[in-house]
């Protein structure tokens, strides 16, 4: 949706004193790894998260020097992470779900978690259709604002809001059931 106004140039969290250049890649990774990791664990489960995490940052490293220095780095890296998560989902759909992955999705293969209501909730998140799951995880795990969710999902901001709304509606039903 355009109102004929140029969108202001936004920039993501910056390394202090970067003086206009791209931060060193290590600093970029330090600044965004927690969000990317949380997003991936929620989106694909802990088993696939490690591979997706590595692929995300290696793809980012390749493209990094060509990036505009005023880029929104968090939205950018989560766009890549989102694509990797979708790839992982497609790959998982192609192969039958092996037994250990079922355990992983339950969260048993990582740190022990209580199987409380929050865990049920995140189990329900993983059951959401792709776009809804993406919108919910990008919003609540990666902490992205709507316009960045739209950027990461490659859709309009309105479509992102709609996916988020549909996802939340479905989740509310799932957890109150």
């Amino acid at each position: 949706m355009s109102y004929g106004v140029t969108r202001p140039i936004r920039s993501g969290p910056r390394t202090k004193g970067a003086r206009g250049g791209l931060p060193p890649f290590q600093r970029f990774m330090d600044a965004h790894r927690d969000h990317v990791w949380r997003f991936l664990v929620s989106a694909v489960g802990p088993t696939d998260a490690e591979d997706c995490f590595q692929e995300t940052f290696i793809a980012a490293l390749h493209a990094y020097p060509r990036l505009r220095r005023d880029s929104n780095l968090r939205a950018w890296v989560l766009t890549i992470a989102h694509n990797k998560a979708m790839d992982a989902h497609r790959a998982r759909t192609r192969r039958a779900v092996p037994v250990e992955d079922v355990a992983a999705v339950d969260g048993r293969s990582t740190s022990p978690r209580t199987n409380g209501p929050d865990e049920t909730l995140w189990g329900a998140v993983r059951e959401l259709p792709d776009r809804q799951r993406s919108a919910v995880t990008l919003r609540y795990m990666a902490d992205l604002p709507h316009r960045d969710i739209a950027e990461a999902m490659g859709c309009s901001e309105e479509a992102a809001r709609r996916s988020l709304h549909e996802g939340l509606t479905k989740l509310r039903k799932a957890v109150s059931a």
């Binding site: 202090k16 791209l22 890649f25 998260a49 978690r113 919003r139 939340l168």
Partner: protein
């Protein structure tokens, strides 16, 4: 944090955000995954620069290497981010922390500080030096362990009509101190002159190498 359009999700959103905080223990897992990733990036040669802290009698130095070799050695007082940002601007922002890639630098420096090494053999990358600094530091590099030279001499060696002041500036810009031994260049007449790492360290290095008599006390 609300979706704005619909406030009926407040409870659900709270639960989703709680999920995020409950997972903050995963920060360690993320840090470990990132460290594995940095190591892999360095091993596979995907980064343009690897860096690591290196312990020394002066405190923790920062060492950075390109594929060609050691490109920067920074003293403890130098701000790490400023150093890394300088490298990002001047060489490449593809910079990762990878201690394994700096193993040889660490070993040779350890040996040097222990008095067990008189010459560095580690590969070096002199691309941060200007053409003139390159010449001056090349002349400086030829000064043997235990020896000293003067600003005027290295200026002459560098074929410079610009004299010792310009040579002093070039030495001050040395991106790889200690390894490129700018501490061996003194003012004519034996005055120590200057040193980027501080005169006390210059004296300490010259004492270590036996170019100056060791004082009773004092380190660093």
């Amino acid at each position: 944090m609300t979706t704005g359009a619909d406030s009926g999700f407040a409870e659900l959103e709270q639960a989703l955000c709680r999920g995020r905080h409950a997972r903050s223990g995963e920060r360690e897992t993320a840090a470990a995954a990132a460290a594995r990733l940095s190591a892999r990036i360095a091993t596979e040669g995907l980064a343009d620069i690897a860096y690591a802290p290196v312990d020394s009698p002066f405190g923790t130095l920062l060492a950075a290497a390109t594929g060609k070799g050691l490109v920067r050695l920074a003293f403890p007082e130098e701000d790490i981010d400023t150093t890394l940002e300088g490298l990002a601007r001047r060489i490449s922002p593809r910079i990762v922390e990878a201690p394994a890639s700096l193993e040889r630098v660490r070993r040779e420096l350890d040996e040097y500080f222990a008095g067990a090494r008189r010459a560095f053999e580690l590969p070096q990358d002199w691309t941060l030096m200007s053409a003139f600094a390159h010449k001056v530091l090349r002349a400086t590099y030829e000064i043997p362990y235990g020896g000293v030279s003067s600003y005027a001499e290295v200026a002459a060696e560098a074929g410079s009509p610009r004299g010792s002041r310009a040579a002093g500036n070039a030495l001050g810009s040395n991106p790889i101190p200690i390894v490129v031994p700018c501490h061996r260049v003194l003012r004519s007449g034996g005055n120590l002159g200057g040193y980027g790492g501080g005169l006390e360290r210059k004296r300490w290095l010259l004492e270590l190498e036996g170019a100056l008599p060791k004082r009773e006390t004092g380190s660093r």
